[in-house]
Symmetry: C2
Subunit: 219 residues, 2 copies
Amino acid sequence: VFELQDVSKVYPMGDGEVRALDHVDLQIREGEFSAIIGPSGSGKSTLMHIMGFMDQPTSGKVLFDGEDMSRLPSNKRALVRNAKIGFVFQAFNLLPKLSVHENTALPLRYTKTPRKIIAERARAALEMVGLANRGDHSPGQLSGGQRQRVAIARALINEPRLILADEPTGNLDSENAALIMDLFDRLHADGRTLVLVTHDNEVAEHARRQIRVQDGHVH
Amino acid sequence: VFELQDVSKVYPMGDGEVRALDHVDLQIREGEFSAIIGPSGSGKSTLMHIMGFMDQPTSGKVLFDGEDMSRLPSNKRALVRNAKIGFVFQAFNLLPKLSVHENTALPLRYTKTPRKIIAERARAALEMVGLANRGDHSPGQLSGGQRQRVAIARALINEPRLILADEPTGNLDSENAALIMDLFDRLHADGRTLVLVTHDNEVAEHARRQIRVQDGHVH
Ligand SMILES: Nc1ncnc2c1ncn2[C@@H]1O[C@H](COP(=O)(O)OP(=O)(O)OP(=O)(O)O)[C@@H](O)[C@H]1O
Ligand SMILES: Nc1ncnc2c1ncn2[C@@H]1O[C@H](COP(=O)(O)OP(=O)(O)OP(=O)(O)O)[C@@H](O)[C@H]1O
Ligand SMILES: [Mg+2]
Ligand SMILES: [Mg+2]
């Protein structure tokens, strides 16, 4: 599904630089369930943003289903991403002015899916994460863990083949974390490809493969 | 230090209501180290916001050092809070347009402390959390865990008697979490009062007292 070839991401800092990723080679196969682990600031989120083509590498190539994504115009990249990838951001990125229901439905909003189907799917996704009765509230009226669960529901609404989730249980207690991991296990059993970032050892052990990141290097 | 007497917090929801806190009585003694634990959405952050008088209860009283805070005007409450309490928000609440250094120095900005001392204290606080070299960057240029550490540095800069921290290690790997817990242990040994919200069992065991919250009730 994914192949990163000699990818680096470098940011300017005063008179030096921050090498968030440093010559990374990585392949993710169809149907794989992997966990990315590593210290704070080591490059995990940067790696996920590049894999989901939310961010461009400073150098190197990103292949998705064999196609070099940097050759595509940015609107084509967004179409591929929206149709094939569900992304759960570390900071949730919910839109404060939309309701919980509208946030969840967002990935389907710009597709040809009929309104009635979108509403049903949004309700089902919120039910899956235990928040069926909060659709009319705004994200600002939810707790930290509830917002995280809305972000997960949104990422799953268009039934993506590939799910990239950045610390999906970081704000959850053990019961809700177990609920979300059961959900991910079912999606994996269904043949979808999952890549999670986590610093929770129990979550990392769920995955079949652990990818370690340290100072921008991947092992 | 703190006493909550029959405190409730209720939000409207459609034709019903959400009882975030339901007739809570709680005392926190000077020099105590307590952990608040409970499921997502159970009322932990609401409890912390009321304890730090960031939010007003729907009914009941909050006493701080024996004084009823609801009798004070809101600007007086803010002065007491700024001088005596260090607060680490679950969502960090860093100001995006200020630098990391300016964010850290913020609690001292409106006091009579000389500029030179403020700058030294901000550098020392960032050093304590392992981010000495990122003072010139903006919060948007940091990773999730790095932002959390800046929020901790900011909460400690005015050497508050009382520290309220909402999931302070939620975005940290085990090494950085241990660094922050060592810092909290030192502050506790120094005689300060600490109240942490956490769903990490190791962090909860650090505290001398566990306060359980479930559906707005405190046990
Ligand atoms: N402004 C609001 N309007 C309506 N409901 C609210 C509001 N703020 C909080 N709530 C509700 O109050 C309850 C308690 O929220 P709180 O943020 O205290 O939970 P929490 O225990 O901190 O959860 P988490 O572990 O997910 O952070 C939740 O059900 C939440 O949705
Ligand atoms: N826009 C930017 N400008 C400068 N440096 C950046 C920028 N974005 C990220 N970085 C730096 O790149 C490094 C990697 O960041 P990244 O967010 O990938 O870390 P992470 O492994 O996800 O950490 P965490 O576990 O704390 O979320 C960090 O040192 C971070 O400060
Ligand atoms: Mg990250
Ligand atoms: Mg909370």
